[in-house]
């Protein structure tokens, strides 16, 4: 088993929570893991990424090699494209549809969708809508994780228990909301494969 995943988004959008859930799930399954994150300057509304590597064997590099990522999971559509050089020829992109516009020259979002759709293996998901349905707009990142879950070689139940561990402190309501968000994302994605 080997999953090399790029997580991307804008500082503050919660990609590190996605990483944490997958990380906890990987540990539960005794997989080896390396996860490199961005801290510092770009967390102020700049582009952020995390390289997450899970494997049945010890992982060497903390960074994924160009052209070798199995999956790009993005909470923002333009940010998904920023990491295309990492995507392997048969890798998948799973991205949120809603743009985060904090720059004056943000391109028309249709042009971004067009680029994403030109990649065979891609799923664009309206995570904002599904998150609200699940109970809170704050679970957008978890909806995206749910949509990516069929492509991660970790049992779905482990992702659920990862969510429980991560959000357990915040109370059962928050946990349930996130579990619902995860499921909504997954249900959407399985119809697209």
């Amino acid at each position: 088993m080997k999953n090399d995943i790029i997580l991307s988004g804008v500082g503050g959008q919660g990609i590190l929570s996605i990483a944490a859930v997958i990380g906890l799930a990987a540990v539960e399954n005794n997989f080896f893991l390396k996860q490199s994150e961005v801290h510092g300057m770009s967390q102020r509304g700049g582009d952020v990424q995390s390289h997450l590597r899970i494997s049945g064997k010890p992982v060497d590099s903390d960074l994924i090699q160009l052209g070798k990522a199995d999956l790009i999971i993005s909470v923002e559509p333009m940010e998904a494209l920023r990491y295309l050089p990492w995507l392997s020829p048969d890798g998948w992109i799973i991205t949120n549809s809603s743009p985060f516009i904090n720059i004056p020259d943000y391109p028309p979002v249709e042009n971004i969708y067009e680029e994403i759709n030109s990649i065979n293996n891609s799923i664009i998901i309206d995570a904002g809508y599904l998150a609200k349905e699940a109970g809170s707009a704050r679970t957008e990142n978890i909806v995206v994780l749910g949509a990516a879950s069929p492509f991660i070689d970790i049992p779905y139940e482990s992702l659920e228990s990862g969510l429980r561990k991560l959000f357990g402190r915040k109370g059962e309501d928050i946990v349930q909301m996130n579990l619902k968000a995860l499921k909504a994302g997954r249900d959407f994605a399985v119809t697209k494969i």
Partner: protein
């Protein structure tokens, strides 16, 4: 002993290892990518139980000296900073090698090659060699953990501080780490045997310097150094590869699982014995050297004449001269066939960091821009922090960002040269880090400068650590001798804009030292504080 396993950042592995090695105190000033070392100790239940000292310091020099003071008492201490912090602490760092230590002392310096969050990419290994201080450069989180107890032992055995040099990718990457089940007890107070050990009068310093130089030679052979420098031979010996620190992972990523085979020398501790270099250079025809940082070993291997063994590395362009390594750069250096790589489509625009919505710095800049317009551009010196974003559009409001505190002193120098008005805009934490002394310069010669302290009551850029300035700025400025009539307080809010512009205009015109404290809490820390108070109730 039973072991525990935990997912830890490289930074956290160092912190946990220090706690487990009987640490009594850690001193630090925040700075990416080192910040999480102190943050981990601060929230560690074991650290709390053991009453390990873990308060932020005012700057890296005060941190280094306080750690040395703790070492003086015989206890184990750690000091952590980002690479440029070591410039600030350099005086005490270099002299601490000459005094030597009493309790084990580890200096962690976290480098930032590629300058993800820094103004340069200096390589701290240069400092360790410059100071004749042994240096560990872990390749993995586990190695980082394991090295800490060796570093403390080495420090105590040779009576020198020991450096741990890490880089961004290790500092901020998480992996499983096996750790000791139980932390060692802290050391008891035991003052140095020689009461003059820390007295660097020239006559004493000369003796101690000689001792330092000779211990720097013997330490090369110590097992705690040699066990981290390993040579793995191979029958195929055309090309031998030397890796330093984290570069080893990038090499292994490329050659594991493939039939590629090379003799490999992994360097993770300095100073190493030259024999280990000969092991590989005697066997191989050519050497590729992979260093995360400056081409330090490469430069030595080539020498001035560069007419010995054929060396590939950063200096001949096999690897880019600047920036961090990654597995793709290493693949190319190994001559592996290029993989098909997609390009970033043209629709993707750069997304530079920006002020958070509602940030007080933005309001301060808006007022300053209007107040200073009549004097023309080029008159505002600034500093390092979130407020440096004032350099970017739409503000384009500052003309410098050099090193912590430089805004104040550069404004003084420019005023000396006749620039008027000469303005500094500096953050609260940066001001107490290194701005106060510059303000004293200004006061003592009554420079016509206007210093704006953009006070968000936190150390924002690095994630919102407490700022030593909070609640003290007024008193500090009066205490340093600024005329209280020219210490003005404003609140950077849209509704105060006109009023703030007026205050700024008045002080810009004043031909003496004035300080404008523009204070409003960082919205990130404010919202975190609110959340926490709700939780507490």
């Amino acid at each position: 002993m039973k072991k525990k396993r935990k997912l830890l950042l490289g930074d956290e592995a160092i912190a946990q290892a220090a706690i487990d090695a009987g640490l009594s105190g850690i001193y630090a000033y925040p700075g990416t990518p080192s910040t999480e070392i102190m943050e981990y100790v601060r929230i560690s239940p074991v650290a709390q139980e053991r009453n390990i000292h873990r308060e932020w310091s005012t700057n890296e020099k005060t941190a280094m000296e306080a750690a040395l003071g703790m070492s003086y008492t015989g206890k184990r201490a750690m000091v952590a900073m980002k690479h440029v912090g070591l410039n600030v602490a350099a005086d005490s760092f270099i002299n601490s090698a000459i005094t030597g230590i009493n309790g084990g002392l580890i200096v962690v310096s976290a480098d930032d090659p590629s300058m993800h969050s820094s103004q340069n990419e200096q390589d701290s290994r240069c400092y360790s060699h410059f100071a004749f201080v042994p240096c560990f450069e872990p390749a993995s989180q586990q190695e980082a953990y394991d090295m800490v107890s060796d570093a403390f032992e080495l420090s105590e055995k040779y009576h020198v501080p020991v450096m741990m040099r890490i880089t961004t990718r290790l500092a901020h990457s998480r992996a499983g780490v096996d750790m000791k089940a139980e932390a060692e007890p802290q050391k008891k107070i035991k003052l140095p045997d020689d009461p003059l050990q820390f007295v660097l009068l020239p006559a004493i310093a000369r003796k101690k310097y000689k001792t330092l130089l000779s211990s720097y030679e013997t330490v090369r052979l110590d097992v705690r150094i040699s066990k981290y420098n390993s040579f793995r031979d191979d029958r195929k010996r055309d090309l031998g590869i030397i890796t330093c620190g984290i570069a080893y992972n990038y090499l292994m990523e490329n050659i594991n699982n493939r039939s590629l085979r090379y003799p490999v020398l992994k360097i993770s501790a300095y100073p190493f014995s030259n024999d280990i270099i000969r092991e590989i250079t005697d066997r191989c025809k050519e050497i590729l050297i992979l260093e995360e940082g400056y081409p330090l070993i490469e430069d030595k291997l080539r020498g001035i004449l560069d007419n010995g063994i054929k060396v590939y590395g950063r200096m001949d362009g096999t690897i880019p001269r600047v920036g961090e390594l990654n597995p793709s750069i290493v693949a190319k250096a190994l001559g592996m066939p290029p993989t098909d790589i997609r390009e970033v489509p043209g629709v993707v625009k750069t997304r530079p960091p920006v002020f958070c919505k509602g940030c007080g710095h933005a309001d301060t800049f808006n007022a300053l821009i209007e107040a200073i317009k009549q004097y023309g551009p080029g008159k505002v010196f600034s500093d390092i922090g979130c407020y440096t974003l004032g350099a970017l559009p739409p503000y384009n409001a500052i003309n410098s960002c050099v090193d912590m505190g430089a805004s104040v002193t550069m404004a003084v120098g420019a005023a000396d040269a006749g620039l008027f008005p000469s303005v500094a805009i500096i953050g609260d934490s940066t001001f107490t880090h290194s701005g106060m002394t510059g303000l004293l310069d200004a006061v003592s010669k009554n420079s016509p400068v206007t210093i704006i302290i953009s006070d968000n009551m936190t150390t924002g850029m690095t994630g919102g650590q407490d700022s030593q300035a909070t609640g003290r700025l007024q008193n500090i400025c009066t205490g340093l001798g600024v005329d209280p009539a020219h210490i003005r307080n404003i609140v950077p809010l849209k509704k105060n804009h006109e009023e703030n512009v007026t205050v700024m205009k008045e002080e810009l015109e004043y031909r003496g030292v004035s300080v404008i404290i523009s204070a409003r809490e960082c919205i990130q820390t404010a919202s975190r504080r609110k959340k926490n108070t709700i939780k507490d109730h």
